[in-house]
Protein backbone atom coordinates (compact mmCIF):
# COMPACT_ATOMS: atom_id res chain seq x y z
CA UNK A 1 0.00 0.00 0.00
CA UNK A 2 1.60 3.17 -1.16
CA UNK A 3 0.39 5.25 1.79
CA UNK A 4 1.88 2.77 4.26
CA UNK A 5 5.65 3.10 3.97
CA UNK A 6 6.59 0.21 6.29
CA UNK A 7 8.73 -2.62 4.96
CA UNK A 8 8.51 -6.03 6.65
CA UNK A 9 12.03 -5.55 7.95
CA UNK A 10 11.06 -2.23 9.57
CA UNK A 11 7.94 -3.70 11.10
CA UNK A 12 10.08 -6.46 12.61
CA UNK A 13 12.55 -3.92 14.07
CA UNK A 14 9.79 -1.75 15.47
CA UNK A 15 8.04 -4.69 17.11
CA UNK A 16 11.35 -5.65 18.72
CA UNK A 17 11.66 -2.18 20.26
CA UNK A 18 8.07 -2.38 21.48
CA UNK A 19 8.56 -5.92 22.75
CA UNK A 20 5.67 -7.43 20.83
CA UNK A 21 5.65 -10.53 18.66
CA UNK A 22 3.36 -9.34 15.95
CA UNK A 23 1.18 -6.40 15.13
CA UNK A 24 -1.92 -8.25 16.29
CA UNK A 25 -0.52 -8.28 19.85
CA UNK A 26 -0.86 -4.51 19.98
CA UNK A 27 -4.63 -4.91 19.98
CA UNK A 28 -4.74 -7.22 22.99
CA UNK A 29 -6.58 -4.60 25.03
CA UNK A 30 -9.67 -5.06 22.84
CA UNK A 31 -11.83 -7.79 24.42
CA UNK A 32 -12.65 -10.75 22.18
CA UNK A 33 -16.37 -10.11 22.35
CA UNK A 34 -15.86 -6.59 20.99
CA UNK A 35 -14.07 -7.80 17.86
CA UNK A 36 -15.75 -7.60 14.48
CA UNK A 37 -15.29 -9.67 11.37
CA UNK A 38 -11.91 -8.41 10.14
CA UNK A 39 -13.04 -8.65 6.54
CA UNK A 40 -14.87 -5.45 5.72
CA UNK A 41 -17.49 -5.67 3.02
CA UNK A 42 -15.94 -2.94 0.91
CA UNK A 43 -14.47 -3.34 -2.58
CA UNK A 44 -10.80 -4.26 -2.74
CA UNK A 45 -8.11 -1.68 -3.32
CA UNK A 46 -7.19 -0.55 -6.82
CA UNK A 47 -4.33 1.32 -8.48
CA UNK A 48 -4.39 5.07 -9.00
CA UNK A 49 -4.77 4.61 -12.72
CA UNK A 50 -7.79 2.34 -12.33
CA UNK A 51 -9.20 4.69 -9.74
CA UNK A 52 -8.89 7.66 -12.05
CA UNK A 53 -10.64 5.78 -14.83
CA UNK A 54 -13.42 4.71 -12.50
CA UNK A 55 -13.92 8.22 -11.11
CA UNK A 56 -14.01 9.54 -14.65
CA UNK A 57 -16.76 7.15 -15.55
CA UNK A 58 -18.74 8.17 -12.47
CA UNK A 59 -18.25 11.84 -13.33
CA UNK A 60 -19.59 11.10 -16.81
CA UNK A 61 -22.92 10.28 -15.17
CA UNK A 62 -23.13 13.95 -14.23
CA UNK A 63 -23.94 16.69 -16.68
CA UNK A 64 -21.79 19.73 -15.95
CA UNK A 65 -23.20 23.24 -15.91
CA UNK A 66 -20.95 24.20 -18.81
CA UNK A 67 -22.62 21.55 -20.99
CA UNK A 68 -25.83 23.55 -20.85
CA UNK A 69 -26.85 27.16 -20.62
CA UNK A 70 -27.30 27.27 -16.88
CA UNK A 71 -29.55 29.68 -15.05
CA UNK A 72 -29.74 28.18 -11.57
CA UNK A 73 -28.63 29.94 -8.42
CA UNK A 74 -30.92 29.69 -5.40
CA UNK A 75 -28.04 30.06 -2.98
CA UNK A 76 -25.24 28.55 -5.07
CA UNK A 77 -24.05 30.95 -7.76
CA UNK A 78 -21.71 30.11 -10.58
CA UNK A 79 -18.97 32.67 -11.06
CA UNK A 80 -15.77 32.56 -13.02
CA UNK A 81 -12.80 31.50 -10.90
CA UNK A 82 -9.53 33.06 -12.05
CA UNK A 83 -6.77 30.47 -12.54
CA UNK A 84 -4.56 32.13 -9.92
CA UNK A 85 -7.19 31.62 -7.22
CA UNK A 86 -7.40 27.84 -7.50
CA UNK A 87 -3.70 27.47 -8.07
CA UNK A 88 -2.66 29.50 -5.03
CA UNK A 89 -5.31 28.04 -2.75
CA UNK A 90 -4.34 24.50 -3.66
CA UNK A 91 -0.74 24.88 -2.46
CA UNK A 92 -0.23 22.09 0.01
CA UNK A 93 1.18 24.58 2.53
CA UNK A 94 -2.41 25.84 2.77
CA UNK A 95 -4.27 22.57 2.27
CA UNK A 96 -2.36 20.21 4.59
CA UNK A 97 -1.85 21.99 7.94
CA UNK A 98 -4.21 21.68 10.88
CA UNK A 99 -5.81 24.60 12.71
CA UNK A 100 -3.04 27.10 13.54
CA UNK A 101 -2.69 26.22 17.23
CA UNK A 102 1.08 26.75 17.02
CA UNK A 103 1.30 30.29 15.68
CA UNK A 104 5.11 30.37 15.26
CA UNK A 105 4.85 27.87 12.41
CA UNK A 106 1.41 28.89 11.09
CA UNK A 107 1.88 32.54 10.19
CA UNK A 108 0.80 31.96 6.60
CA UNK A 109 -2.63 30.63 7.49
CA UNK A 110 -3.02 33.18 10.28
CA UNK A 111 -2.16 36.21 8.18
CA UNK A 112 -4.51 34.97 5.46
CA UNK A 113 -7.26 34.63 8.11
CA UNK A 114 -6.59 38.15 9.34
CA UNK A 115 -6.77 39.49 5.80
CA UNK A 116 -9.96 37.53 5.15
CA UNK A 117 -11.55 39.01 8.31
CA UNK A 118 -10.49 42.51 7.21
CA UNK A 119 -11.84 42.13 3.69
CA UNK A 120 -15.14 40.68 4.88
CA UNK A 121 -15.58 43.55 7.38
CA UNK A 122 -15.06 46.03 4.57
CA UNK A 123 -17.38 44.22 2.16
CA UNK A 124 -20.15 43.89 4.78
CA UNK A 125 -19.40 47.22 6.49
CA UNK A 126 -19.32 45.42 9.85
CA UNK A 127 -16.91 45.84 12.77
CA UNK A 128 -15.67 42.33 13.25
CA UNK A 129 -15.65 39.01 11.38
CA UNK A 130 -14.70 35.57 12.60
CA UNK A 131 -12.30 33.38 10.65
CA UNK A 132 -15.32 31.70 8.98
CA UNK A 133 -18.13 29.32 9.72
CA UNK A 134 -19.30 26.13 8.01
CA UNK A 135 -21.93 27.53 5.67
CA UNK A 136 -24.32 30.43 5.26
CA UNK A 137 -27.07 28.35 6.85
CA UNK A 138 -25.06 27.21 9.89
CA UNK A 139 -23.73 30.75 10.36
CA UNK A 140 -27.30 32.02 10.40
CA UNK A 141 -28.34 29.38 12.96
CA UNK A 142 -25.42 30.32 15.21
CA UNK A 143 -26.35 34.00 14.76
CA UNK A 144 -29.81 33.24 16.12
CA UNK A 145 -28.32 31.41 19.11
CA UNK A 146 -25.98 34.36 19.70
CA UNK A 147 -28.87 36.83 19.57
CA UNK A 148 -30.67 34.79 22.21
CA UNK A 149 -27.60 34.87 24.45
CA UNK A 150 -27.29 38.63 24.07
CA UNK A 151 -30.95 39.24 24.78
CA UNK A 152 -30.77 37.10 27.92
CA UNK A 153 -33.97 35.16 28.13
CA UNK A 154 -35.81 36.22 25.00
CA UNK A 155 -36.51 33.25 22.78
CA UNK A 156 -38.44 34.21 19.68
CA UNK A 157 -36.82 34.75 16.29
CA UNK A 158 -38.84 36.37 13.50
CA UNK A 159 -38.14 34.76 10.14
CA UNK A 160 -39.81 35.94 6.94
CA UNK A 161 -40.40 33.20 4.37
CA UNK A 162 -38.23 35.12 1.89
CA UNK A 163 -35.22 33.71 3.74
CA UNK A 164 -33.69 30.74 1.86
CA UNK A 165 -35.91 27.73 2.63
CA UNK A 166 -32.92 25.52 3.40
CA UNK A 167 -31.47 28.14 5.76
CA UNK A 168 -34.80 28.20 7.55
CA UNK A 169 -34.87 24.45 7.92
CA UNK A 170 -31.35 24.44 9.35
CA UNK A 171 -32.39 27.18 11.76
CA UNK A 172 -35.40 25.14 12.88
CA UNK A 173 -33.29 22.03 13.45
CA UNK A 174 -30.58 23.82 15.41
CA UNK A 175 -32.90 25.87 17.62
CA UNK A 176 -34.73 22.55 18.20
CA UNK A 177 -37.77 24.23 19.70
CA UNK A 178 -39.78 25.01 16.57
CA UNK A 179 -42.37 27.18 18.26
CA UNK A 180 -39.87 29.98 18.95
CA UNK A 181 -39.60 30.72 15.24
CA UNK A 182 -42.19 33.23 14.08
CA UNK A 183 -42.51 32.63 10.38
CA UNK A 184 -44.08 35.49 8.49
CA UNK A 185 -45.33 35.09 4.92
CA UNK A 186 -44.10 37.59 2.34
CA UNK A 187 -46.20 40.10 0.60
CA UNK A 188 -45.27 40.44 -3.05
CA UNK A 189 -41.89 38.83 -2.33
CA UNK A 190 -41.06 41.32 0.39
CA UNK A 191 -41.30 41.36 4.17
CA UNK A 192 -44.90 42.09 5.07
CA UNK A 193 -44.53 45.09 7.38
CA UNK A 194 -47.90 44.64 9.09
CA UNK A 195 -47.27 40.99 9.86
CA UNK A 196 -43.76 41.85 10.99
CA UNK A 197 -45.07 44.50 13.40
CA UNK A 198 -47.63 42.04 14.74
CA UNK A 199 -44.93 39.45 15.39
CA UNK A 200 -42.63 41.85 17.22
CA UNK A 201 -43.05 41.82 20.98
CA UNK A 202 -41.00 41.64 24.16
CA UNK A 203 -40.07 38.02 23.66
CA UNK A 204 -38.35 38.61 20.32
CA UNK A 205 -34.56 38.22 20.47
CA UNK A 206 -34.00 38.99 16.80
CA UNK A 207 -35.40 39.02 13.30
CA UNK A 208 -33.65 37.56 10.28
CA UNK A 209 -33.82 39.25 6.91
CA UNK A 210 -32.17 38.09 3.70
CA UNK A 211 -30.53 40.43 1.21
CA UNK A 212 -30.89 39.72 -1.67
CA UNK A 213 -33.74 37.50 -0.60
CA UNK A 214 -34.60 34.06 -1.95
CA UNK A 215 -36.59 35.63 -4.81
CA UNK A 216 -33.59 37.78 -5.76
CA UNK A 217 -35.26 40.89 -4.36
CA UNK A 218 -33.37 43.65 -2.58
CA UNK A 219 -35.32 45.84 -0.21
CA UNK A 220 -34.69 48.60 2.25
CA UNK A 221 -34.62 47.19 5.78
CA UNK A 222 -33.85 50.38 7.71
CA UNK A 223 -37.39 50.61 9.06
CA UNK A 224 -37.19 47.03 10.26
CA UNK A 225 -33.84 47.69 11.95
CA UNK A 226 -35.33 50.70 13.72
CA UNK A 227 -38.36 48.91 15.04
CA UNK A 228 -36.28 45.95 16.22
CA UNK A 229 -33.82 48.20 18.04
CA UNK A 230 -36.65 50.11 19.65
CA UNK A 231 -38.05 46.82 20.88
CA UNK A 232 -34.65 45.81 22.29
CA UNK A 233 -34.16 43.12 19.65
CA UNK A 234 -31.40 42.53 17.12
CA UNK A 235 -31.37 42.50 13.34
CA UNK A 236 -29.65 39.51 11.74
CA UNK A 237 -28.86 39.89 8.06
CA UNK A 238 -28.32 36.82 5.89
CA UNK A 239 -26.88 36.97 2.42
CA UNK A 240 -26.41 34.13 -0.02
CA UNK A 241 -24.63 36.33 -2.57
CA UNK A 242 -22.00 38.72 -1.16
CA UNK A 243 -21.02 39.83 -4.68
CA UNK A 244 -24.13 42.03 -4.41
CA UNK A 245 -22.27 44.26 -1.95
CA UNK A 246 -20.03 45.37 -4.78
CA UNK A 247 -22.77 47.87 -5.63
CA UNK A 248 -25.53 47.47 -3.07
CA UNK A 249 -25.80 48.69 0.50
CA UNK A 250 -24.01 46.35 2.90
CA UNK A 251 -25.72 45.14 6.11
CA UNK A 252 -23.62 47.37 8.37
CA UNK A 253 -25.05 50.43 6.65
CA UNK A 254 -28.67 49.51 7.32
CA UNK A 255 -28.46 48.51 10.95
CA UNK A 256 -27.59 44.82 11.05
CA UNK A 257 -26.24 43.68 14.41
CA UNK A 258 -25.10 40.33 13.07
CA UNK A 259 -24.54 39.67 9.39
CA UNK A 260 -24.11 36.11 8.20
CA UNK A 261 -23.66 34.88 4.68
CA UNK A 262 -22.63 32.21 2.22
CA UNK A 263 -19.23 32.78 0.63
CA UNK A 264 -19.47 30.11 -2.07
CA UNK A 265 -19.52 32.95 -4.63
CA UNK A 266 -16.10 34.15 -3.53
CA UNK A 267 -13.84 31.99 -5.66
CA UNK A 268 -15.15 28.54 -4.73
CA UNK A 269 -16.48 26.03 -7.25
CA UNK A 270 -20.21 25.28 -6.93
CA UNK A 271 -19.24 21.60 -6.56
CA UNK A 272 -22.77 20.28 -5.96
CA UNK A 273 -23.11 22.89 -3.22
CA UNK A 274 -20.00 22.44 -1.10
CA UNK A 275 -17.56 22.91 0.53
CA UNK A 276 -19.28 26.12 1.48
CA UNK A 277 -17.95 29.14 3.34
CA UNK A 278 -19.95 30.54 6.24
CA UNK A 279 -19.47 34.25 6.77
CA UNK A 280 -20.09 35.59 10.25
CA UNK A 281 -19.76 39.26 11.25
CA UNK A 282 -21.03 41.45 14.04
CA UNK A 283 -20.59 44.76 15.83
CA UNK A 284 -17.74 45.50 18.24
CA UNK A 285 -19.84 45.29 21.37
CA UNK A 286 -20.82 41.69 20.60
CA UNK A 287 -17.33 40.39 19.78
CA UNK A 288 -17.13 38.20 22.87
CA UNK A 289 -20.50 36.65 22.13
CA UNK A 290 -19.39 35.62 18.67
CA UNK A 291 -18.92 31.91 17.90
CA UNK A 292 -16.00 30.45 15.99
CA UNK A 293 -12.34 31.12 15.59
CA UNK A 294 -10.89 34.60 15.40
CA UNK A 295 -7.42 35.69 14.42
CA UNK A 296 -5.79 38.74 16.01
CA UNK A 297 -2.62 40.72 15.54
CA UNK A 298 0.14 40.77 18.15
CA UNK A 299 3.94 40.76 18.44
CA UNK A 300 6.50 38.02 19.02
CA UNK A 301 9.28 37.79 21.62
CA UNK A 302 11.45 39.99 19.43
CA UNK A 303 8.77 42.62 18.91
CA UNK A 304 7.96 41.60 15.33
CA UNK A 305 4.33 41.67 14.19
CA UNK A 306 2.56 38.36 14.01
CA UNK A 307 -0.84 36.72 14.28
CA UNK A 308 -2.51 34.28 16.66
CA UNK A 309 -5.92 32.73 17.24
CA UNK A 310 -7.38 34.88 19.98
CA UNK A 311 -10.34 35.37 22.32
CA UNK A 312 -10.37 31.59 22.48
CA UNK A 313 -11.93 31.53 25.94
CA UNK A 314 -15.27 31.77 24.10
CA UNK A 315 -14.66 28.38 22.59
CA UNK A 316 -15.60 24.85 23.49
CA UNK A 317 -12.10 23.56 24.22
CA UNK A 318 -11.89 25.97 27.16
CA UNK A 319 -15.41 26.85 28.16
CA UNK A 320 -16.87 23.42 27.39
CA UNK A 321 -20.59 23.52 28.21
CA UNK A 322 -20.53 27.31 28.58
CA UNK A 323 -19.01 27.93 25.15
CA UNK A 324 -20.60 30.37 22.68
CA UNK A 325 -21.03 27.50 20.23
CA UNK A 326 -20.22 23.83 19.92
CA UNK A 327 -18.29 24.40 16.73
CA UNK A 328 -14.58 23.85 16.99
CA UNK A 329 -13.32 24.42 13.51
CA UNK A 330 -14.04 26.56 10.52
CA UNK A 331 -13.48 26.49 6.77
CA UNK A 332 -10.03 28.05 6.72
CA UNK A 333 -9.12 26.89 3.26
CA UNK A 334 -12.36 28.30 1.84
CA UNK A 335 -11.71 31.57 3.69
CA UNK A 336 -8.18 31.69 2.30
CA UNK A 337 -9.62 31.11 -1.17
CA UNK A 338 -12.08 33.96 -0.63
CA UNK A 339 -9.25 36.23 0.53
CA UNK A 340 -7.29 35.45 -2.64
CA UNK A 341 -10.36 35.96 -4.84
CA UNK A 342 -11.28 39.27 -3.21
CA UNK A 343 -7.73 40.57 -3.54
CA UNK A 344 -7.78 39.66 -7.23
CA UNK A 345 -11.03 41.59 -7.66
CA UNK A 346 -10.14 44.62 -5.59
CA UNK A 347 -12.30 47.62 -4.90
CA UNK A 348 -13.15 48.40 -8.52
CA UNK A 349 -13.26 44.80 -9.71
CA UNK A 350 -16.00 43.80 -7.32
CA UNK A 351 -18.04 46.85 -8.26
CA UNK A 352 -17.71 46.04 -11.94
CA UNK A 353 -18.50 42.36 -11.38
CA UNK A 354 -21.61 43.19 -9.36
CA UNK A 355 -22.65 45.59 -12.06
CA UNK A 356 -22.27 42.99 -14.81
CA UNK A 357 -24.39 40.53 -12.81
CA UNK A 358 -27.13 43.08 -12.24
CA UNK A 359 -27.08 44.33 -15.83
CA UNK A 360 -27.32 40.86 -17.36
CA UNK A 361 -30.05 39.73 -14.98
CA UNK A 362 -31.95 42.91 -15.76
CA UNK A 363 -31.65 42.17 -19.47
CA UNK A 364 -33.02 38.66 -19.12
CA UNK A 365 -35.80 39.81 -16.82
CA UNK A 366 -36.91 42.41 -19.36
CA UNK A 367 -36.54 39.99 -22.25
CA UNK A 368 -38.53 37.20 -20.62
CA UNK A 369 -41.24 39.47 -19.31
CA UNK A 370 -41.86 40.68 -22.85
CA UNK A 371 -42.85 37.15 -23.87
CA UNK A 372 -46.55 36.53 -24.10
CA UNK A 373 -47.63 34.28 -21.27
CA UNK A 374 -44.72 35.24 -19.03
CA UNK A 375 -45.15 37.66 -16.17
CA UNK A 376 -43.07 38.92 -13.24
CA UNK A 377 -45.15 38.21 -10.12
CA UNK A 378 -43.14 40.37 -7.72
CA UNK A 379 -42.59 43.92 -8.96
CA UNK A 380 -39.39 44.71 -7.10
CA UNK A 381 -35.74 45.60 -7.42
CA UNK A 382 -33.71 42.42 -8.02
CA UNK A 383 -29.98 41.77 -8.18
CA UNK A 384 -28.87 38.70 -10.17
CA UNK A 385 -31.93 36.55 -9.66
CA UNK A 386 -35.67 36.96 -10.24
CA UNK A 387 -38.90 35.01 -10.42
CA UNK A 388 -41.17 34.70 -13.44
CA UNK A 389 -44.55 33.09 -13.73
CA UNK A 390 -46.48 31.39 -16.52
CA UNK A 391 -49.74 29.50 -16.82
CA UNK A 392 -47.88 26.19 -17.11
CA UNK A 393 -46.40 24.00 -14.39
CA UNK A 394 -42.81 25.05 -13.80
CA UNK A 395 -41.63 21.45 -13.76
CA UNK A 396 -42.99 20.89 -17.23
CA UNK A 397 -41.39 24.07 -18.62
CA UNK A 398 -38.04 23.28 -17.00
CA UNK A 399 -38.07 19.78 -18.51
CA UNK A 400 -38.75 21.23 -21.96
CA UNK A 401 -36.01 23.81 -21.55
CA UNK A 402 -33.66 21.08 -20.32
CA UNK A 403 -34.35 19.06 -23.44
CA UNK A 404 -33.01 22.01 -25.43
CA UNK A 405 -29.85 22.33 -23.33
CA UNK A 406 -31.09 25.03 -20.99
CA UNK A 407 -31.14 24.61 -17.22
CA UNK A 408 -33.80 27.22 -16.83
CA UNK A 409 -33.81 27.77 -13.07
CA UNK A 410 -35.48 26.31 -10.02
CA UNK A 411 -39.12 25.35 -9.67
CA UNK A 412 -40.28 27.58 -6.83
CA UNK A 413 -43.02 25.05 -6.08
CA UNK A 414 -40.48 22.72 -4.52
CA UNK A 415 -40.10 25.25 -1.69
CA UNK A 416 -43.40 27.19 -1.48
CA UNK A 417 -47.04 26.21 -1.77
CA UNK A 418 -49.06 27.60 -4.67
CA UNK A 419 -45.98 28.64 -6.63
CA UNK A 420 -45.62 25.70 -8.94
CA UNK A 421 -45.98 27.93 -11.96
CA UNK A 422 -43.09 30.12 -10.88
CA UNK A 423 -39.44 29.73 -11.79
CA UNK A 424 -36.47 31.30 -9.98
CA UNK A 425 -33.86 32.34 -12.55
CA UNK A 426 -30.28 33.40 -11.94
CA UNK A 427 -27.91 35.25 -14.25
CA UNK A 428 -24.24 35.84 -13.55
CA UNK A 429 -21.27 37.00 -15.61
CA UNK A 430 -21.07 33.40 -16.86
CA UNK A 431 -24.19 33.82 -18.98
CA UNK A 432 -23.76 35.41 -22.39
CA UNK A 433 -26.35 37.48 -24.18
CA UNK A 434 -26.54 34.79 -26.82
CA UNK A 435 -27.49 32.24 -24.17
CA UNK A 436 -30.10 34.57 -22.74
CA UNK A 437 -31.61 35.26 -26.15
CA UNK A 438 -31.82 31.55 -26.81
CA UNK A 439 -33.50 31.08 -23.41
CA UNK A 440 -36.11 33.65 -24.38
CA UNK A 441 -36.62 32.08 -27.79
CA UNK A 442 -37.09 28.55 -26.41
CA UNK A 443 -39.29 29.78 -23.57
CA UNK A 444 -41.50 31.62 -26.02
CA UNK A 445 -42.03 28.33 -27.89
CA UNK A 446 -42.67 26.11 -24.89
CA UNK A 447 -44.82 28.52 -22.91
CA UNK A 448 -47.52 28.58 -25.56
Amino acid sequence: MRYLPHTNEEIRKMLAVIGAKDVGDLFSSIPKDHRCNPELNIPGGISEQELWAQMNSIAMKNRTLSCSASFIGAGAYRHYIPAAVSELASRSEFTTPYTPYQPEISQGTLQAMFEYQSQICRLFDMDVSNASHYSGATALADAALMARRISKGRKAIIVPDSVHPEYRRVLESVLCDGDSIRLIPSSCGRVDRAKFAAALDGDVAAAVVQFPNFFGIVEDFRDIADSLHKAGALLIAATPEPIAFGILTPPGSWGADIAAGEGLSLGLPVSFGGPTLGIFTTRDQFTRQMPGRICGKTIDAEGREGYVLTLSTREQHIRREKATSNICSNQTLCATTAAIYLSMLGKEGIRELANINAAKADYLKKTLSAIKGVSIPFEARTFNEFVFETAKPAAELLAKLDAQGIIGGVDLGRFYPDTDQMILVCVTEMNTREEMDRYAQVLAQVVR
Partner: protein
Protein backbone atom coordinates in the same frame (compact mmCIF):
# COMPACT_ATOMS: atom_id res chain seq x y z
CA UNK B 1 1.78 33.55 49.26
CA UNK B 2 0.57 37.09 49.49
CA UNK B 3 -2.68 37.43 51.49
CA UNK B 4 -3.03 40.58 53.60
CA UNK B 5 -4.26 40.11 57.17
CA UNK B 6 -6.96 42.78 57.02
CA UNK B 7 -9.06 40.95 54.42
CA UNK B 8 -11.54 38.08 54.45
CA UNK B 9 -11.48 35.32 51.87
CA UNK B 10 -13.73 32.84 50.03
CA UNK B 11 -13.01 29.31 48.92
CA UNK B 12 -13.33 30.54 45.35
CA UNK B 13 -10.38 32.88 45.95
CA UNK B 14 -12.13 36.22 46.21
CA UNK B 15 -11.15 38.71 48.90
CA UNK B 16 -13.32 41.25 50.73
CA UNK B 17 -12.37 44.40 52.54
CA UNK B 18 -15.03 45.89 54.78
CA UNK B 19 -15.25 49.62 55.42
CA UNK B 20 -18.44 50.54 57.25
CA UNK B 21 -21.31 49.03 55.29
CA UNK B 22 -19.34 48.83 52.04
CA UNK B 23 -17.44 45.74 50.94
CA UNK B 24 -14.67 46.01 48.34
CA UNK B 25 -14.29 42.76 46.40
CA UNK B 26 -11.40 41.41 44.34
CA UNK B 27 -9.59 38.19 43.47
CA UNK B 28 -6.61 36.92 45.43
CA UNK B 29 -2.98 36.76 44.48
CA UNK B 30 -3.26 32.99 44.31
CA UNK B 31 -6.20 33.28 41.88
CA UNK B 32 -4.44 35.70 39.56
CA UNK B 33 -1.26 33.63 39.47
CA UNK B 34 -3.24 30.46 38.70
CA UNK B 35 -5.05 32.20 35.86
CA UNK B 36 -1.95 33.74 34.31
CA UNK B 37 -2.11 36.79 32.06
CA UNK B 38 -5.57 38.24 32.56
CA UNK B 39 -7.04 39.68 29.39
CA UNK B 40 -10.68 40.40 30.12
CA UNK B 41 -12.96 41.18 33.01
CA UNK B 42 -16.75 41.18 32.98
CA UNK B 43 -18.74 42.50 35.93
CA UNK B 44 -22.25 43.70 36.76
CA UNK B 45 -23.32 47.27 36.25
CA UNK B 46 -23.59 49.84 38.98
CA UNK B 47 -26.92 49.55 40.78
CA UNK B 48 -27.32 45.82 40.10
CA UNK B 49 -27.53 43.47 43.04
CA UNK B 50 -25.29 40.52 43.77
CA UNK B 51 -26.16 37.51 45.88
CA UNK B 52 -23.74 35.70 48.12
CA UNK B 53 -22.24 32.61 46.45
CA UNK B 54 -23.75 33.47 43.07
CA UNK B 55 -21.56 34.21 40.07
CA UNK B 56 -21.33 37.96 39.47
CA UNK B 57 -18.74 38.12 36.75
CA UNK B 58 -15.94 36.53 34.83
CA UNK B 59 -12.19 36.90 34.74
CA UNK B 60 -10.46 35.56 31.65
CA UNK B 61 -6.86 34.83 30.89
CA UNK B 62 -5.54 33.69 27.54
CA UNK B 63 -6.37 30.04 28.13
CA UNK B 64 -8.75 29.97 31.10
CA UNK B 65 -12.00 31.44 32.28
CA UNK B 66 -12.99 31.81 35.89
CA UNK B 67 -16.34 32.77 37.33
CA UNK B 68 -16.27 35.18 40.27
CA UNK B 69 -18.61 34.46 43.16
CA UNK B 70 -20.01 37.14 45.42
CA UNK B 71 -18.65 36.81 48.99
CA UNK B 72 -21.54 38.92 50.28
CA UNK B 73 -24.95 40.07 49.06
CA UNK B 74 -25.85 43.64 48.27
CA UNK B 75 -26.11 46.45 45.76
CA UNK B 76 -23.19 47.33 43.52
CA UNK B 77 -22.23 50.93 44.24
CA UNK B 78 -19.05 51.13 42.20
CA UNK B 79 -17.22 49.02 39.61
CA UNK B 80 -13.56 49.32 38.66
CA UNK B 81 -14.03 50.43 35.05
CA UNK B 82 -10.32 50.91 34.52
CA UNK B 83 -9.96 47.11 34.34
CA UNK B 84 -11.83 47.07 31.06
CA UNK B 85 -8.96 48.86 29.37
CA UNK B 86 -6.12 47.44 31.44
CA UNK B 87 -7.07 44.02 32.77
CA UNK B 88 -3.37 43.38 33.46
CA UNK B 89 -3.79 45.50 36.61
CA UNK B 90 -5.39 42.40 38.13
CA UNK B 91 -2.08 40.58 37.73
CA UNK B 92 0.00 43.52 38.88
CA UNK B 93 -1.90 44.74 41.94
CA UNK B 94 -4.80 42.46 42.79
CA UNK B 95 -5.30 43.80 46.32
CA UNK B 96 -4.97 47.47 45.34
CA UNK B 97 -5.67 49.00 41.92
CA UNK B 98 -7.07 45.66 40.74
CA UNK B 99 -10.19 45.62 42.92
CA UNK B 100 -13.38 44.63 41.10
CA UNK B 101 -16.52 45.91 42.87
CA UNK B 102 -17.77 47.91 45.82
CA UNK B 103 -20.98 46.51 47.26
CA UNK B 104 -23.33 48.01 49.81
CA UNK B 105 -23.98 44.98 51.97
CA UNK B 106 -27.55 43.93 52.65
CA UNK B 107 -26.50 41.51 55.38
CA UNK B 108 -23.13 42.44 56.94
CA UNK B 109 -23.30 39.30 59.09
CA UNK B 110 -22.41 37.28 55.95
CA UNK B 111 -18.83 38.39 56.48
CA UNK B 112 -18.59 36.07 59.42
CA UNK B 113 -18.84 33.03 57.12
CA UNK B 114 -15.63 34.01 55.31
CA UNK B 115 -12.11 32.87 56.08
CA UNK B 116 -9.49 35.08 57.68
CA UNK B 117 -5.91 35.28 56.46
CA UNK B 118 -4.66 32.26 58.40
CA UNK B 119 -7.55 30.06 57.42
CA UNK B 120 -7.19 31.07 53.77
CA UNK B 121 -3.47 30.35 53.65
CA UNK B 122 -4.13 26.96 55.18
CA UNK B 123 -6.96 26.38 52.73
CA UNK B 124 -4.78 27.15 49.70
CA UNK B 125 -1.98 24.96 51.06
CA UNK B 126 -4.41 22.10 51.40
CA UNK B 127 -5.96 22.69 47.99
CA UNK B 128 -2.64 22.73 46.16
CA UNK B 129 -1.22 19.77 48.07
Amino acid sequence: MNAPDDLRYTKEHEWVKVEGNVATIGITDHAQSQLGDIVYVEFPGQGETVTKSDSFGVVESVKAVSDCYAPVSGKVVEVNDSLTDSPETLNEDCYGEGWLLRVEMSDPAEIEDLMDQKQYIAFVAEETA
